[in-house]
Symmetry: C2
Subunit: 360 residues, 2 copies
């Protein structure tokens, strides 16, 4: 049995009883931690850090050493898959990710092939193995990938975009081409996540960071359909345990019912949605993950704790039961004060235990 | 009687019968039009253009000369109010709006005063008068303002922001200070819109561009409450006609019921919401405005027309009646091809007439 000693996160995803609400934070291994900055400095660059399994393992564990978190998440980048497809990921100073060879011509799109994750993405699998060994069954390890649509945004735009003009022009003008990109990428993501599961990931999360930029109908056709295809292709059980999947479309609160119906175990929500209303809309068909505004962490620790309690109360107001994994509604800001994160994690554990205490 | 000859826009907002769906476009007087670029060149700068009533009138009318639009919207900037409060609006090349004196200290916030719109914003009222004269009752003129929260974002951040760290830190840490900014700004916006109405604006729209960045509960407390206060303070009738109000919170689709309940006549929606579902949620308590993705305009005219029909069909699928004003879900991109806009406007009129034709 390789069930982690603290399996609260896995039980919450399965909507089983828990003594407290488990908590982890998107981008919990990141620049707000001075020890992360130090490891990255040693690595020489962000990409070196991602591609070196020992250093990736080191930074994955850093937030767990500081805080009482209930899950670890693989340290990596969401753009490893297109990089392995040959697009040439690089990071221009202070500018975010870019591709040397973005998809611009039809022949480039037709030539796209899903990479063998155990070959071109071996460094990720090595990191998963090393992290699992280092975690020694203390808490579960989450594997992850970007969603096909989100990856396609970067692959087609060539980097970040504020209007998604290129990818949306293709969507409206040449939907066949975009579907080809998405189909190949969905296969690549499925293979990638399954390889992570085979290497030891005990849950997986798909980040659909840009799906929320689509119209309601385009979202269904160009993002959700591929998320569904991936979820259907994931390894369901490993070492006698279910491997749950979490799907997070930032800005997707309006589409909750549709996302909850694709077969995933949990849906991530950003802070614009009320968790209580979300539960009233979908019952306990899936667990919910979220959804504190990351900017709350800039307020004083008492405020952070009060806002964390407000999120827990919102979920609780829809009645007992249900599965809730506490998280931010987006990645933690690099400027967040580390001691405020401690206040957050402690408040989640304390208040969620109190909510479960029998009254009187 | 000063009712415009084409009052389809006003009738749609009042949920009265119309022969076709009226259409106008956010930022319709803008950089995608070569004649606008030429006028702006003559003005010397964007701010000179805003502050010169004759030139503002000229660019307001430009899209109406090209397209069969059903409303004109005052050409101005959303930041005229904080500029009149003394914050010193300027535009750095290629960077968007900035303030010379953003609100950083408590004494600066305590010193904030709502400006007399007929004094410090006289140039806007002069433009309204001149545009009404030039329109000669052809189509209605829409006045507008930014929402208090959206203005506060710029006033506190000092310019555009991608995480709203300063304004949200104030929101969580010193809600009393932010409420003070919002209260003064709500008074200023109410006075400003009423002065526009007294000068001749026949409808008003409040742009809550950044309210969608808030959590569900913070939105109600820090944005919607002030929108409600403004709507309650607006002049309701002028020259025997109702002056309808439109409230648009970008990214606010999840909160539609709450927005529809503040007393406004119409709610703007971006493209993430389905108009048909929106109508099923709120009935015809308010009219709806929107919601084509502006990026559709980069596709060929046939695709633009097909996507416009899809928006009309979506609204229509919820049953006959209801009030719909066709628009984009956000301002038109400066790179949009002008002939694609013609295809859009024509498709809206043709298809909406066809939908109203008795079957058989």
């Amino acid at each position: 049995m390789t069930r982690p000693k603290n399996d609260c996160f896995l039980r919450a995803l399965a909507r089983q009883p828990v003594e407290f609400t488990p908590v982890w934070l998107m981008r919990q291994a990141g620049r707000y931690l001075p020890e992360y900055v130090e490891t990255r400095r040693r690595a020489g660059s962000f990409l070196n850090l991602c591609k070196n399994p020992s250093l990736a393992c080191e930074v994955t564990l850093q937030p767990l050493a500081r805080y009482d978190l209930d899950a670890a998440i693989l340290f990596s980048d969401i753009l490893t898959v297109p990089d392995a497809m040959g697009l040439g990921l690089y990071f221009a100073d202070g500018e975010g990710p870019k591709f040397e060879r973005p998809l611009r011509e039809e022949w480039e799109i037709r030539a796209l092939v899903a990479p063998d994750p155990n070959d071109r993405l071996r460094y990720v699998m090595d990191a998963v193995v090393e992290i699992r060994r280092a975690l020694s069954n203390s808490v579960p390890l989450i594997g992850f990938s970007g969603s096909p649509f989100t990856l396609a945004c970067y692959m087609i735009e060539g980097g970040a975009s504020d209007d998604f003009r290129r990818v949306k022009t293709m969507l409206y003008e040449r939907p066949d081409l975009l579907h080809h990109v998405l189909a190949v990428t969905a296969t690549a993501v499925t293979d990638y996540l399954n390889a992570q599961i085979e290497s030891g990931a005990q849950a997986v999360m798909i980040f659909d960071t840009w799906g929320g930029a689509l119209s309601h109908s385009a979202y269904r056709e160009f993002s959700l359909a591929y998320l569904e295809r991936i979820v259907a292709g994931l390894i369901r059980e490993r070492d006698g345990s279910v491997v749950p999947s979490i799907v997070f479309t930032k800005g997707g609160g309006l589409w909750l019912e549709d996302i909850a119906a694709i077969g995933c175990d949990a849906v991530g929500l950003d802070w614009t949605a009320s968790l209580g209303q979300a539960r009233r809309r979908i019952g306990d068909r899936v667990a919910l993950q979220g959804n504190l505004d990351p900017m709350v962490l800039f307020a004083q620790p008492e405020v952070v704790a009060a806002e964390a309690r407000r999120v827990l109360d919102d979920f609780h107001a829809a009645g007992p039961g249900g599965g809730h994994v506490f998280n931010l509604g987006h990645g933690i800001s690099q400027f967040s004060p580390p001691d405020h994160v401690a206040a957050l994690v402690n408040a989640v554990h304390e208040h969620s235990r109190a909510l479960r205490r029998p009254a009187g």
